[in-house]
Symmetry: C2
Subunit: 288 residues, 2 copies
């Protein structure tokens, strides 16, 4: 019989899990306990520091409601969400990389006609966004679906400002034809801040970090017979690309918005003045 | 510039803390991130498992209120509270070992006269508890204070049953004389269960553990010029001594309750029938 001691702390605790019949749960608990105890031994918290963390986690839980999930935000700013996403979406060499879903996707975004403008609040710099959905052999995928959403010019998603923005502003679902091509109109994204009025904001400012995400468009791209990809396309040259508060940036997901000033092209594409063009192709892997 | 990747995940996240001016906070964040990422890489959680943990932590925070602290309970059953206590109370060779405070101490327990009975609900097996407060050279400490509390025969503390138990049942503060001796009357403690109606209870039962604590008396022993000790005295032979749900047991804190059946002694000590005797000396270290 071994009682609790500093030296054998993790092994004494883990022994109480020896009758856990769910072997996956057992493995997770054993690993969590091992790493937690290693962490405590590394930093040797005072009782006051321990109390602070207990209070911090309690406040994080209590900040959550139907519209706000502060523990996901905490997971995001510690790079845990990005890591879990990456582990679960390891890609073959040329398939489009995934990144974090984030909390602003909605399941009932309107189906839109190819070419439609998803910008309904009239703000921002107009953009024409297009590309193709391909398989890993560079062949077009028929009838692929693109679910797209973004923040508006002021840095907020429609669901963050239900009284300010038109419903379903800057989001929509598009279906490609046989050629796998997509195109729609929107605005060039801007960087924005994650919510900072909770415990996560307290940590961000206490540690000298910033709360900003570089400008990006969100996508879920899917097609029958292929693994869907949840990802962003980031604006090349955006502020905070090198220090995304939630670690979503991958180099392959950065793409350039090219300013179009050619009067003929502006007219041909139905814009009133100069606009940006973004081309991005998505490559999906076959399901196993 | 290094973007997020599975391989370099922790180092990319830690880089965002490079401007943290509070060096203690910086060290804690760096260690937390390193160990969290190691844990995630070890278990490779699915997105569903990650969501479950987010929801579990949220519920744990939301179970907390003025009377219930579920995150402390979670810290307790993972051995973190015991580890933090042990790290902060490393003892010289013969000083009394500490253990966890627990959530049932009150700051305004009544001062009682030496010898008084702290049992006011009439339940349980009577006990006479006594001993001496000593320094590490075995000399008595003058005017030491003993703050004692315990659960009743049914396994609940008075503050858990405000409508059932008399106020301040089974708790009190005693002051020793010059000889450092203490003695009072109470009941032999029983084992009891930690609260299981929250997320901690869910984890305990899902993993095949039990929620019980072996029988014990709580103490805070203090004296001017000495480091106070927060500890328990456990009942030798109690169930669950080898599997305390919160890992409070240390071998040096287990002591025997001896049954006294000698009629003369029963009369001399003012009991009506057989009773238990517990002797336990506390040894305090001088403050630095």
């Amino acid at each position: 019989m071994q009682y609790f001691s500093e030296k054998h702390s993790a092994e004494v605790v883990i022994k109480q899990y020896e009758n856990c019949k769910n072997l996956r749960l057992k493995k997770i608990m054993e690993s969590a306990i091992t790493h937690l105890h290693d962490f405590v031994k590394d930093v040797e918290p005072t009782q006051e520091e321990w109390s602070y963390v207990i209070d911090y986690l309690t406040k994080t839980g209590q900040k959550c409601d139907d519209k706000r999930q502060e523990f996901i935000l905490l997971s995001d700013v510690l790079g845990i969400s990005a890591l879990v996403d990456t582990i679960n979406n390891r890609k073959s060499i040329n398939a489009t990389e995934s990144t974090v879903l984030g909390p602003f996707h909605v399941n009932n975004a309107p189906k839109r006609k190819m070419g439609e403008n998803i910008n309904h609040d009239g703000k921002g710099e107009p953009a024409y966004i297009f590309g193709q959905i391909l398989d890993t052999n560079n062949n077009p995928i028929e009838h692929a679906e693109i679910d797209v959403w973004q923040a508006n010019e002021d840095g907020f998603y429609d669901i963050q400002q239900p009284d300010v923005q038109p419903e379903m502003n800057l989001r929509g679902v598009f279906k490609t034809d046989k050629d796998g091509k997509y195109y729609f109109r929107s605005v060039k994204p801007k960087f924005y801040s994650i919510p900072t009025d909770g415990p996560v904001g307290t940590m961000i400012s206490a540690t000298g970090r910033h709360p900003n995400r570089p400008a990006h468009l969100h996508y879920i791209v899917s097609a029958k017979g292929y693994k869907p990809v949840v990802t962003h396309v980031f604006v090349k040259g955006s502020e905070y690309l090198d220090s995304d508060a939630v670690f979503g940036v991958k180099e392959s997901l950065i793409s350039e918005y090219i300013l179009i000033t050619d009067k003929n092209k502006i007219k041909e594409y139905g814009f009133e003045d100069q606009y940006y063009e973004l081309e991005f192709n998505f490559v999906l892997e076959k399901t196993d």
